[in-house]
Amino acid sequence: MVDVTFSVNGKEHALSVNDNALLSETLRENLNLTGTHIGCDTSQCGSCTVHLDGKAVKACTVLTAQAAGSEVTTIEGIGEPGSLHPMQEAFNEHHALQCGFCTPGMIMAAIGLVNASESLDGDAVRKGLDGNFCRCTGYHNIVKAVLSAQRNM
């Protein structure tokens, strides 16, 4: 077991976890933050995307131990009904989600993308979402939502 102290959604946590615990597992199982989803084993689908010290990462490919001392932000930490993050608002406004399973990761990746870019056009959004699969939307409305949210972030 390793002792890990880190901040999740602004709250400090001191946990003792298995050495091989993945950040995605710790978030879901220890902290009950089940918005971070697991969709694959090969680090590709992006459903588990969270921010680690402000950058989008796949929580299924980070050991919890690696996140010690870091700030982790999950989908649960960016906004809630009544005070949604502009990206959450845009996803709803533009119907950028259907089944909702890829959505938390997609939103976290999209926020990471917008934060890391000066300005994005449609092609850049498409390229920038390379790390996230959506099987429902065909991405059309996701691109619209990200372009729209970019103006409000």
Binding site: F101, R126, G138
Partner: protein, 782 residues
């Protein structure tokens, strides 16, 4: 009530609130006290006899609670997984369905087939235990090639020639005669590539058993929890339906793959009683690849006979459909009643004959995947039509238009057992031509050629039969269940409404669309309507969601129940207004006696229904809650035109979709935003089939494209912005005039893409997916 939230309005989805904040509740998010974890041990051989399975190593692994093999289920008389649609062969004999034990007992027949399960205190313990199981196999050569499967070694003792059935539809003699009289025959050899559904949420199940009430509870990723319960009760023998509670909470996409009743949830629910503790299983993605039912996988020879003038005279289709190793829940219906019946397409082809033989191979079972049979049919028809136009040097749009069934021809009885109720195919074609700037294509092509690139344009004028399904028709054709839908509309004391539906939303937005429908009809605020689904103890019964049926069948049931509410409420209003009910009218949430100033709001009537101070109880029951079972009179027939334009890098063979136009006729539309979204998603899957996706087994029967490293999922940068619009000829036989929209994109798109690529390359045939190398080889001339 034409309002911002009524029928026809693009209301933002209410279910989004939980999904965008990460508070959705999917099966794997659910944990119960004392739960254990299940891991399946899966065959790594495509075809082998099980000589022995030794679970002792697993049982002595720390943290392992139990380990079971197929014989343990058999001892408890757990039944086989059934196929629910009986197809008959040409000679009248029943299809042959081999035994399909949930956990293999004597043989394994595909890589990924489970032959044991280990239950542990943790997933890790169960995995450790699974690795400690020692099994010995006698390997045999797998049967993998679809086309030669009937001549290969026999897989199942009970299935000679590996053939489940040899089915036909249509008039053979008339069709043969049409070909004899034809001025021109266009023929194609078509392989419809195997696809792997890949809902992003992997399948999962959490089973528990309560010994005190002898009740099982199963949370699972099902598109149809009532059907799951029915099969587990009636065929698998877990428990009577009344003792079996199935809940499909939020489900992360299905696309058909979560319709079926699988080994895993069967084993999990059984094992929960066996170990006396809840048992949970969540698939790894690699398990999804290996064990979710795959889609498509046909080999077809098809011919279209035409007259000198370009009239379609006859269509002849011979298909071999791969069933995989076993018949999955609805597998038999897909290449028959959802395929052969669609061969008329949008055209007045007078004679059609379709033969389909279904064969077994040592691969994962194949069943319905978005569109299910109809994409395969559209691909046959639309590739043939486009090819014929090119061979005859006729404009591809003109040839289609010439042969379209015209608006005045409806209702139109096809030669392949369907009666189309309504449509206007030219309207969609014309609109699509406009969007695609058909007239400007030649100039764009010249520009591409000047840059050393190739450009092509392809059409697909598809039709689908959906809104599954009229029970009488389905039952007469071999279905094992009725295909109606149920609804309950329950008005609360304060006038808010709870709607229980047997349809299931796994992305379709029912909580919004159905609420729009009910609030519009009752004239009450949209916010006051809640929709409940996915729980066998909360809604009466239901067949779930697939086959683009939710609005056409489920929505019609809700509409019918709502009409009953209005009728009952009108009676109550009449009583309150001290008049006869035929004197009371209801509009926009208000009951009035016309030409008087007496009126009551819906809320006042609802309140009175539950506070029946002076009801004449012999004439008027208290309460305001109504149910309906709606069984459609016919299928619905969405149709449309898709036009795809591609540009190809001549040096690498890489295809880019530069524009994609889809104009669809879905009849009336409740929420255009949601409908557009459904089209987008379908298009992505249709385009994915044409360009990217391929389930490939190697010569040993190993699934080579068994992870996202090798199975090409469409990503955002593989796809264009779509141009999507609609036309409308309302359905004539359901109360809403709706047709359904969930599969259209996947049905139409594939042929449009391949027609565009073959146009660009100036060739007749090209296998799917049109990968860069495939296209490059075609450019090299082979």
């Amino acid at each position: 009530m034409a309002t911002e939230t009524g029928i026809g309005a693009s209301v933002r989805r209410t279910e989004d609130a939980r999904f965008i904040t990460g508070t959705g509740r999917y099966t794997d998010d659910i944990n119960v006290p004392n739960q254990t974890y299940c891991v399946f041990v899966r065959s790594t051989h495509a075809r082998a006899t099980i000589k022995s399975i030794d679970t002792s190593g697993a049982l002595s692994t720390p943290g392992v609670v139990a380990a079971f093999v197929g014989a343990d289920l058999a001892k408890d008389e757990i039944g086989d997984l059934p196929c629910g649609w009986l197809v008959k062969s040409k000679d009248g004999s029943d299809m042959v369905a081999p035994p399909h034990p949930p956990i293999a007992t004597e043989r394994v027949n595909y890589v990924g087939e489970p032959y044991a399960l280990v239950i542990g205190e943790t997933v890790k313990a169960a995995k450790d235990g699974a690795e400690a199981i020692v099994a010995e196999f006698d390997m045999q050569n797998p049967v993998l090639d679809v086309a030669s499967a009937t001549q290969s070694e026999q897989i199942h003792e009970s299935v000679p020639s590996n053939r489940s059935y040899d089915w036909e539809l249509g008039d053979k003699a008339a069709t043969d005669a049409a070909f004899e009289n034809a001025a021109h025959v266009t023929s194609l050899d078509i392989v419809n590539n195997r696809l792997i559904p890949n809902a992003i949420e992997p399948r999962a199940a959490l089973g528990s058993y309560d010994a005190a009430s002898e009740t099982y509870t199963l949370h699972t990723t099902s598109q149809n929890p009532h059907l799951e319960r029915l099969v587990l009760a009636a065929f698998v023998n877990i428990a009577p339906e009344a003792k079996l509670h199935v809940i499909s909470p939020d489900v992360g996409g299905g696309f058909g793959s979560k319709i079926f009743v699988y080994a895993e949830e069967t084993a999990v629910i059984w094992a929960s009683a066996k170990v006396g503790r809840p048992v949970k299983w969540t698939a790894d993605r690699v398990e999804s690849f290996l064990s979710d039912a795959h889609g498509r996988d046909h080999v077809t020879h098809a011919e279209l006979a035409l007259s000198e003038e370009g009239d379609f005279l006859g269509l002849r289709v011979k298909t071999t459909a791969n069933m995989g190793a076993y018949l999955s829940t609805f597998a038999s219906s897909v290449p028959t009643y959802l395929y052969g019946t669609l061969m008329a397409g949008q055209y007045k082809t007078p004679a059609i004959y379709v033969e389909v033989q279904a064969v077994f191979t040592n691969t994962a079972p194949v069943d319905a995947y978005r569109g299910a049979g109809r994409p395969e049919a559209t691909y046959v028809v639309e590739r043939l039509v486009e090819t014929a136009a090119r061979e005859l040097n006729t404009d591809v749009a003109d040839l289609r238009r010439r042969n379209f069934i015209r608006p005045e021809d409806f209702p139109y009885e096809t030669p392949v057992a369907l009666t189309y109720d309504t449509g206007n195919y030219a309207a969609s074609l014309d609109k699509a031509l406009d969007y695609a700037d058909y007239a400007g294509f030649a100039a764009r092509k010249a520009q591409s050629e000047a840059e050393g690139k190739k450009r092509g344009l392809g059409f697909s004028c598809y039709i689908e039969a959906c809104g599954l399904a009229p029970s009488q028709v389905a039952l007469s054709l071999g279905a094992g269940v009725g295909l109606f839908e149920s609804a309950e509309v329950r008005v609360d004391v304060t006038g808010s409404v709870t709607v229980m539906t047997g349809a299931h939303s796994h992305g379709q937005g029912h909580e919004t669309t159905f609420a729009q429908l009910v609030s519009d009809k009752l004239g009450i605020p949209f916010e006051n309507v809640s929709v409940v689904h996915g729980d066998t103890r909360r809604s009466d019964y239901g067949l779930g969601t697939y086959g683009s049926r939710s609005i056409a069948v489920g929505g019609s049931a809700i509409s019918t129940a709502t009409d009953k509410i209005i009728a009952k409420a009108t009676k109550i209003a009449a009583h309150m207004l001290e008049t006869n009910e035929d004197k009371v009218s209801f509009d926009d949430g208000i009951f009035t006696i016309p030409d008087s100033n007496e009126s009551l709001s819906f809320g006042e009537v609802a309140f009175s229904a539950y506070v029946p101070g002076n009801f004449p109880l012999d004439e008027l029951e208290p309460g305001l809650s109504e149910k309906a079972f709606y069984d459609p009179a016919n299928f619905t027939y969405p149709a449309g035109t898709h036009i795809c334009e591609v540009e190809i890098d001549s040096e690498t063979g890489t295809t880019s979709i530069v524009s994609f136009v889809a104009v669809d006729d879905f009849g009336n539309v409740i929420n255009p935003m949601i409908v557009e979204g459904q089209v987008h998603g379908g298009l992505a899957q249709g385009i994915g089939q044409a360009l990217l996706e391929h389930g490939i087994y190697d010569a040993d029967g190993q699934l080579v494209s068994g992870s996202y490293m090798d199975y090409t999922m469409p990503r955002a940068d593989d796809l264009p912005d779509f141009v999507v619009d609609t036309t409308s000829t309302p359905c004539t036989h359901n109360p809403l005039g709706v047709k359904g929209c969930g599969e259209a994109g996947a049905i139409g798109a594939t042929a449009a893409v391949m027609n565009a690529i073959t146009d660009a390359l100036g060739i007749k045939e090209l296998p799917m997916p049109a990968t860069s190398e495939t296209v490059w080889r075609a450019i090299q001339g082979g």
